[in-house]
């Protein structure tokens, strides 16, 4: 998959945003699910290859800090962008290209083998079908996708710091898992499970 721009926001710099240099696992899942997903399985990314050199660009734009709740929207309130305008700066990635390796992991009520879902996914990719246009981190940066080619990844290796592995919604609320991300000869390996620490009273 590729695109002219991307913004995989680091959680510590999420207001005046700064991107990770590489696609995050959660962004990869979002892309795969936008192409094909069913309640019977979930996507488990295992590696991401970086196929284009990592370059940055910056942009500053007007945003709105107004939020309209569902009940307010039903009552007719709209977002007042002129009154709640604010400017925010972003450090984004330019001309990105990735190869995603992922498993299909079946859920308990699945009726077909994983190969059936993989086959459906591949056929959709070949036809260019998707449920909605995938994006690279934020919706401003549309992503394009196609069948896998055999290009070599870039030769760069670097530490990427602590990266978001997954978001877990349960009854207690939202929890995050993390992993120590590293790009090794252009490939970022994603562990099966991330580090989760239960928040405890300090």
């Amino acid at each position: 998959m590729w695109g002219p721009g991307a913004l995989f926001t680091r959680p510590e710099l999420k207001v005046e945003r700064v991107s990770y240099p590489v696609m995050t696992p959660t962004a990869a899942i979002g892309v795969l699910e936008s192409i094909f997903w069913k309640p019977e399985f979930s996507w488990v990314p295992v590696a991401i290859d970086v196929l284009a050199p990592i370059t940055q660009f910056t942009q500053r734009r007007n945003e709105s800090i107004d939020i309209v709740s569902v009940s307010e929207a039903l009552a007719g309130r709209t977002v007042d962008t002129a009154e709640h305008r604010t400017q925010r700066h972003s450090v984004c990635l330019k001309d990105v290209c990735y190869r995603i390796y992922a498993h299909v992991e079946l859920r308990g009520h699945a009726t077909n083998p994983a190969a059936a879902y993989r086959g459906q996914f591949r056929r959709r990719v070949e036809r260019g079908q998707c449920f909605h246009q995938p994006y690279l981190g934020t919706r401003e940066f549309s992503a394009y996708f196609g069948p896998v080619d055999e290009r070599d990844p870039i030769s760069t290796s670097m530490d990427l710091g602590v990266m978001l592995h997954g978001v877990h919604h349960d009854k207690a609320g939202v929890r995050f898992s993390w992993f120590d991300a590293r790009l090794e000869a252009g490939r970022m390996l994603i562990p099966r499970v991330g580090k989760v620490t239960e928040l405890a009273e300090a």
Binding site: R10, P11, Q87, R88, H89, S157, G161, V196, T197
Partner: protein, 592 residues
């Protein structure tokens, strides 16, 4: 990795105690346990200016709420004195909270004599008389028995616990820290901000990490609930960034929209980086270029990137947005990669001057200076308008553009060339730094060789370049004929129009040159030079290919060629004149 790098820098280079910050203090309150009288002393410098003592004292971010600092604070908090700008009720609240904090400290450390003395002062004694000229926000240091209480170990312990209480949120939590990767107590908001004078564009002290609007937080939450950072790392990030922004590694030119800091991890600082902003050492640049030409830098870059070398170059460029720091650029790359880009920068920027035989490199500030307006002054040497002055007409992002070219190896944006050409046309001034900027804009850093030469290129056949050379030669002929005291020279009259379209200007110059040459011929002192000047003019004119006519108005890259041809011809003429003088001087010495 930005926060990790800042925390790492703080660990190695910053000695400020946790949750402390430097501030200015104008008053000192002295208390004594041996019966001596309480004393309030002014710390202002005797020169009458409003300058007090700068001290590192316990401090955390204080926004709109009432939040006393520990052991040293402003007059409102320490004495409860307001002024015309303060609200009496709020001042009283500030003072009461400060006194309560002192009592808490004394309660937690009952054996500390300084804390006990301070509590007794607030409980039993009257305030000192208010001196004239005290402002509500003047800083006050407190000392007991001639020792500042901010240095008491018990105060530091208490302060760390107090910061944890204030910045841990309503329900303090522990969890995985994004920066250090350890499970530790987490902050709810960052405990320190960066002083606004260190962040161009910031209207208040500014924060690098802050989620102060619901719309920016995950699940519409404010503060750092979903951005886990521990207290130690939060403090280290703040002190590391403050230390860097105020260090000698900070590059900030007045009037520019950003401040750049750089540092090196895991290696000694290369000498060539030190003079990068102010003025590079030509010898160090030559060594770097020799490594570039031998291919050593390219090989080192390739190896460092493939094995993730531990020798890293880090650079952070920040600007302010109200009370927030925006990251304009963040570089974390192997040191050899930056050195390779820097070598390309110098390779493409070296430029001949009127005074030196060899091309010279320029510092970043010299180049930024040259993008401003040139001020002609009657009877004095002209100069560039100071950096930062509003009538300098500089683009506020030119520093960033040049830094991206030097450190990242990005080509200069077309706007820089366009701006420099516009300034040259407006000011009629072409000199070596401006020519270097033009050359930088014409050269692509990704190419193996520089596309444009640093000195005069006799073999360059670009018509615009040749017109530049002819223009310079016509100026030279005029100077030879009339001397330097001409009110309005040929260059003054025609330079502006010649940059856009040199053909009419050169045609006019050739007509004028007939008279100038005949005047030179009539003067016995200059007669011998006439033939040489005429013949050079003919040679240059003959080099222009009639099959490659110039368009009516030159596009920017051809205007740049004209500028380079003009500058390099003049520099070459100056070099020849120096050589001739040397030769003449040697011959006369030999004759003696």
């Amino acid at each position: 990795m930005l926060l990790q790098r800042l925390a790492g820098y703080a660990e190695e280079n910053v000695t400020t105690p946790p949750f402390h910050r430097e501030g200015e203090f104008l008053w000192r309150l002295d208390l004594f346990t041996d019966g001596r009288e309480t004393r309030l002393t002014g710390l202002r410098e005797p020169d009458g200016k409003r300058r007090g003592q700068r001290r590192v004292t316990p401090a955390v971010t204080r926004t709109s709420g009432v939040a006393p600092q520990m052991g040293a604070d402003d007059v409102r908090y320490v004495f409860g004195w307001g002024d015309d700008t303060t609200e009496p009720a709020r001042v009283a609240d500030c003072h009461a909270r400060f006194v309560a904090l002192i009592r808490e400290w004394s309660g937690s450390e009952p054996d500390d004599a300084a804390a006990v003395r301070l509590v007794r002062f607030y409980q039993d004694e009257t305030m000192p008389a208010r001196p004239d000229g005290v402002g509500a926000k003047d800083g006050v240091l407190i000392a007991v028995d001639d020792e500042l209480v901010i240095h008491r170990p018990s105060l530091m312990r208490f302060w760390a616990a107090e910061v944890a209480r204030r910045k841990g949120g309503t329900t303090p939590q522990a969890g995985l820290c994004l920066v250090c990767g350890e499970t530790r107590p987490l902050v709810d908001s960052m405990p320190s901000t960066i002083a606004k004078h260190l962040v161009p564009g910031a209207s208040n002290d500014a924060a690098l990490v802050s989620v102060n609007k619901r719309v920016f937080g995950y699940g519409l939450t404010k503060n750092l609930e979903h951005t886990p950072i521990c207290f130690d790392c939060a403090n280290a990030v703040g002190s590391g960034l403050t230390g860097l922004l105020g260090s000698r590694h900070a590059v900030n030119l007045p009037g520019q929209d950003s401040r750049m800091v750089w540092w090196v991890v895991g290696a000694a600082e290369p000498d060539v980086l030190s003079g990068f902003a102010t003025g590079p050492d030509p010898d160090q640049v030559n060594v770097l270029l020799a490594r570039l030409r031998s291919g050593e830098l390219a090989r080192a870059r390739e190896l460092a990137e493939s094995v993730a070398s531990d020798e890293r170059f880090c650079s952070l460029t920040v600007g302010g947005n109200a009370s927030r720091i925006m990251v304009r650029d963040w570089i974390d790359m192997p040191l050899p990669t930056v050195l390779l880009h820097l070598a390309h920068w110098y390779r493409d920027m070296l430029m001949v001057t009127w005074a030196h035989d060899e091309p010279v490199p320029f510092g970043l500030w010299q180049l930024v200076l040259a993008t401003g307006r040139w001020e002609r002054r009657s009877g004095e040497k002209g100069r560039y308008t100071e950096i930062g002055s509003k009538n300098g007409r500089r683009r506020e992002h030119v520093q960033r553009d040049l830094l991206a070219r030097a450190l990242r190896g990005y080509p200069l944006p077309p706007s820089v060339l366009h701006h420099v050409l516009h300034r040259i046309a407006s000011d009629g001034r072409i000199d070596a730094p401006r020519a270097a900027l033009v050359r930088l804009a014409l050269c692509d850093p990704r190419e193996k060789e520089s596309r444009v030469s640093a000195g005069l290129d006799e073999n360059h056949t670009d018509t615009a370049y040749l017109y530049g050379r002819v223009f310079a030669h016509l100026e030279k002929i005029q100077y030879k004929a009339h001397g330097p005291d001409v009110n309005t020279t040929y260059g003054d009259r025609f330079m502006t129009s010649a940059i856009g379209n040199p053909v009419p200007a050169v045609l006019a110059g050739r007509k004028l040159a007939t008279a100038w040459l005949s005047k030179i011929r009539r003067n016995p002192e200059t007669r011998n030079a006439e033939w040489s000047l005429r013949s050079t003019l003919d040679t240059l004119i003959n080099k222009i290919n009639p099959a490659d006519p110039l368009p009516g108005f030159l596009p920017p890259h051809r205007q740049a060629q004209f500028v380079l041809g003009y500058h390099q011809q003049r520099a070459d003429d100056a070099r020849r004149a120096r050589d001739h003088q040397k030769k003449t001087a040697t011959e006369s010495d030999d004759e003696d």
